[in-house]
Symmetry: C3
């Protein structure tokens, strides 16, 4: 791309402070930007870097009203940055066709303009939408479907009957539809409960590398529209994750739990099975959620507490040894005092 | 299948309450069941749903003695349910043979009635038992063996010399036999300790997607008969897991630790190296086990405490700020009182 | 190998106690060693086993001055053991060439003496160094490079433009260069921030099975020379890990965090984004690091505290219920006493 700052401001719906005619041909981080590039500051903690960056312009929030650099002021600098990076990096899709070393079942229904790399396997009766990209080592089991414009990176495994929506991105090593973890004890022996349900992944979902999503025992595991899941996350059987929720790396969600929409589970959070987490809930890193969480609040700790309650308690935690000591001393002094008071009384 | 409730009851060793002639042709969850299907209630909390389900019959425990629905009463409803699902879903094994695009070493010993999909790799001197299924992208390294009727799902990697038993199920992305994590420090430099041991997985083990089981430094890492491991679990070198134990998702077990038989480690538990966990132990989610655990007890917390001890302590945790405040006040009042008592004494 | 103990001592720079002419032809653990083999004791807790082992000689530290067995005394027995295992197990590299079922782009630059197994994919313009081994199912994206003598085990995925150094080992299922987890909120909608940076893995790095290393949003994610990473670890975008650091299984490191050199993060540690961990820091298992950590210290707990501080506090934790009870009793006794003192005063 090559645009003036003024043109970018118009495209983004922002305001220029300073020279709007400066030419922008790329985007970079504030430390690495060179002349000709634009950068951004979303976190006020980085504002001192405004004076040092070599970038030709900086995207900032409207609170910043002057600088030695030309500024592009927008209400949400991070979002504007995302849009500029997209503008700079996006390339039109070029289908590569179906490689001779891909294995595609004759009963599969294939869309137009596909890219199927070598060593892709597409099973019987699969449906593959238009402009889908399947990288090497991707496995699509029988009767599964992949919606249009989805991208499955190398070595993704999609078990049979899984339904994947449109514009879904599955990164390398993702497994969708493996058996849920269900056994009934027969004495000490573990008897497998066949997992005969499926997984449904709706449109515009992105799932990070080596994340695993198990098929339902009966019924469906469902990942709703717009959900974004990071790497190495475990989603157990019959879980439902609501629209636009964000699940950060290494989270584990146990069976039959329902996560609301627009929820954020931070890294390494664990959630027990058969509970509900309300809409817009935020759960802090490493928390352990053991019961239903009402909507619109923040939680942290293991077991999870409301955010503020946990913070107040954890602040006291390092003072426990001192508290214990004080308590012991007080007990002694009290005993002493009781003796004294008793003797005073007796003396009378 | 198509059976009367009476026939099912006979097969399961249960008792019918109500109409035993009702015909059952499928199984579903209590919310999704339709007429003609059977469902189950294992958890008494779901008993109110008995009145609402559309199922034609319900598997329950013998405590439930009447309902508007025909009932099938058995001592272990969850186990009976597992058996009915198996009955409905199991299909006879149909070998597909060895695909032309599989790569099989001429020195491999192959059993009968195999299913080897395209892009499978079977290395030199491997032994593959009868009726084994290897899905696309499965790698079997040199001198490894896979016992009869085992199923290895797509993109499973089995390193050289690994021994896998009969009727073992490895889900997609499982890695067995990768190098254990062992380095000796030479100053600051990390010198790799070659991992020359192996892994042995006994019969009837099931391992979840993307779980990793490292080979021993010397000797063997061993997963004993009937163990069930969930997704994304880490089993380090020289670990031994005893028979019928259950290891839930995202657990990590450090090197040379011995887990007894019939143990349950819940989700995200971490266990340090070189310790022993006794038989029948249950460890709660996210616990951190730092020393030997005697048999037959429950533990939770990080570091892990006996279940009850942890529960009592964690209940007090949110009250810490209040306790601290009380303690400070008491200290002040005590000081005041000491002064008073002193003055009383002096006045005398 | 076949060497006398004397010859081994010379090679390792150690001292023989006892018969130096005993012949050593292998190495094993202290419990499993047979005559003709050497073993080692690095941890003094295993010294009682010296009397029981069937090994012909034992590597120990110089503090051990006599035993019924011949001894090889060295300052660092674990390091000496590592060297002896290497000596016994290392075999000269034998290139297998490029299998006919590997897919290699005509624009790739290939070194000498390669081993490319079937079902390997090497994309356009890749550079593959001399004596590189790529196992089945390895994917190398466009414009990526792999330095000489590196080994990529089965089903490793290397995204486009990733740079991998010399003598690097990537175990099965490792993903390098997948998109970092970055979205800007546009109302409730998550707008993807294209991840246009790369990953650089320097020389002599080893990465465990199913670990994921994300590409930078802009700029680079960097794993420096000699770093060793265990299985199932998550390294987010723009992270930098300093030389010779050790990252144990299931650790998660959030975006833009800088880890110093010679750092150890124990199993299941979580580190938030945008912070710095100093050189030589050790963080205990399951800790949660929420802010910068100064160099040369140990930390543990979630949130992480200095090692000693945490230990002292956690020791008090199980006594909380008792402390609470004591506090309540003290409050009552104090009240009683205050009443008494008041009455004494009034009586006067």
């Amino acid at each position: 791309m090559k645009k003036t700052l003024k043109e970018l401001a118009e495209w983004l719906g922002g305001k220029v402070v300073g020279d709007g005619d400066v030419e922008i041909s790329g985007v970079a981080s504030i430390d690495e930007a060179n002349p000709g590039e634009i950068t951004f500051i979303a976190n006020p903690k980085y504002l001192p870097k405004l004076a040092q960056t070599k970038a030709s312009a900086v995207i900032v929030s409207p609170e910043v009203t002057q600088a030695e650099k030309p500024l592009l002021c927008v209400p949400n600098p991070y979002l504007a940055f995302a849009k500029v990076v997209s503008l700079c990096s996006s390339q039109p899709y070029q289908p590569k066709g179906i490689d001779a070393q891909a294995w595609v079942s004759p009963t599969a229904q294939l869309g137009k303009d596909l890219t199927l790399y070598p060593f892709v396997y597409v099973g019987d009766r699969c449906r593959i939408g238009d402009r889908v990209t399947l990288y090497p080592g991707v496995f699509i089991g029988e009767d599964a479907s992949v919606g249009e414009e989805s991208i499955l990176y190398p070595n993704v495994s999609v078990y049979s009957r899984t339904v994947i929506g449109k514009r879904v991105i599955l990164h390398s090593g993702v497994v969708v539809g493996s058996d849920g973890f269900g056994y009934a004890k027969d004495g000490k022996k573990n008897v497998k409960i066949p997992q005969v349900g499926t997984v449904e992944i709706e449109d515009d979902v992105e799932i990070g590398s080596n994340t695993t999503i198990d098929r339902a025992a009966l019924g469906k595991t469902i990942i709703r529209r717009g959900v974004k899941i990071d790497n190495l996350v475990q989603v157990a059987h019959n879980v439902i994750i609501g629209e636009d929720s964000i699940i950060v790396a290494q989270v584990g969600i146990s069976g039959s739990t329902k996560i609301g929409s627009n929820v954020t589970l931070a890294g390494q959070v664990g959630v027990v099975g058969h509970i509900e987490i309300g809409d817009n809930v935020m759960v802090g890193a490493q928390a352990g959620v053991t019961h239903d969480l009402p909507a619109n609040q923040g939680y942290v700790g293991s077991p999870a507490l409301p955010h503020r309650e946990f913070l107040r308690a954890i602040t006291v935690f390092p003072k426990l040894p001192e508290m214990k000591k004080t308590l012991n001393e007080i007990e002694k002094r009290l005993k002493e005092l009781e003796k004294n008071v008793l003797s005073v009384r007796e003396e009378k």
